[in-house]
Symmetry: C2
Subunit: 196 residues, 2 copies
């Protein structure tokens, strides 16, 4: 029978989650499999039972995180009416759901010349999910007349990279100051692209 035995899938999830946390904090090269083993509570060897290698582990975990992120956003996106509201909502969402800033880590991996081609290709799709979500908001804003943008792709890239780095602050800040930072960036950004 190909029925699911034991609760191995749960274990896999625990490893992936702890690994994500570590990767986000210390980067890809800075995180050792021993670290992941210690933090997750499972032996080093066991990690290789669930994942082919460290690189594949990261790829799986980051893509999974992004997929989940996209789905979750799609649910709450409907509750905002205007594009400007959506942008503020996105900042709030990013702050709370990107708890692990994995995008920069993906960049780190992509930069390294030793990274395998398959990994590189998989990583290509990493940023695609949030970028598509951002782009949709800007398109909506242009159509509704809220925004005056001549290059949506470029604007999306700029907003995306900004959100990306802001995410890093979630590791060192929290509460109201952090919230203000995200909100303020949207205020500035909206002020810069608003039709007047």
């Amino acid at each position: 029978m190909n029925k699911r035995h034991y609760n191995s899938e749960e274990t896999r999830q625990v490893i992936a989650e702890k690994a994500a946390q570590l990767f986000a904090q210390k980067g890809f090269a800075g995180t050792s499999v021993a670290d992941i083993s210690r933090e997750s509570g499972f032996s080093k060897g066991h990690i290789y039972y669930h994942f082919e290698n460290k690189e594949k582990l990261f790829v799986h975990l980051s893509l999974e995180t992004m997929r989940h992120w996209g789905e979750k956003w799609h649910v709450v996106a409907g509750s905002y009416k205007t594009a400007i509201e959506k942008l503020y909502g996105m900042a709030h969402f990013v702050m709370n759901n990107y708890k692990t800033p994995l995008l920069p880590v993906g960049q780190e991996l992509a930069m390294n010349p030793n990274t395998s081609p398959e990994t590189l290709q998989a990583l290509q799709g990493l940023a695609a999910t949030p970028m598509a979500a951002y782009a949709a908001i800007f398109r909506e804003g242009v159509e509704s007349g809220e925004f005056a943008i001549d290059n949506i792709e470029e604007t999306t890239l700029l907003f995306g990279t900004w959100m990306g780095t802001l995410c890093q602050f979630t590791l060192t800040m929290e509460g109201e100051p952090l919230q203000r930072l995200f909100q303020q960036s949207v205020t500035i950004f909206v002020g810069g692209i608003r039709r007047r």
Copy 2:
């Protein structure tokens, strides 16, 4: 005699420069001393003749780079009249003189729990140089009535982090598209803080 013998200082410079390039590309943990040795053309042991260890090498190199950066900016800053002009000038300057995005690497080091306290303290001053330059522009803009900012510190932090990540693009892009990216971010940012 404490006269300078040979051209050892030159060698030190070569090592620091190649190391900066590698650190910027592959991060701190991702760059090995062997990498620096190979790329600089000097033996691994020789690097330790010039620098106490890898950590100190990075600290020295990054602080030196920033000091140089600050001096250079101070020279050209005078040629811009308004704060808005200065902001565009800064983006242009950052694009061309930050060739090595060392700030994120400094963050990487600062995040790692194994980093020595002295290094951590030295790293504290890393971002201070560009941040001070940014802050000066925003203060000037507020005084001249160009900008309407209620929290200069926060605004400086936001602009700084944005410039920081934009710098990463200097590794993968160049020429007109890169220039447009920097210019466009300033346009958006200025649009967001301009008095109207």
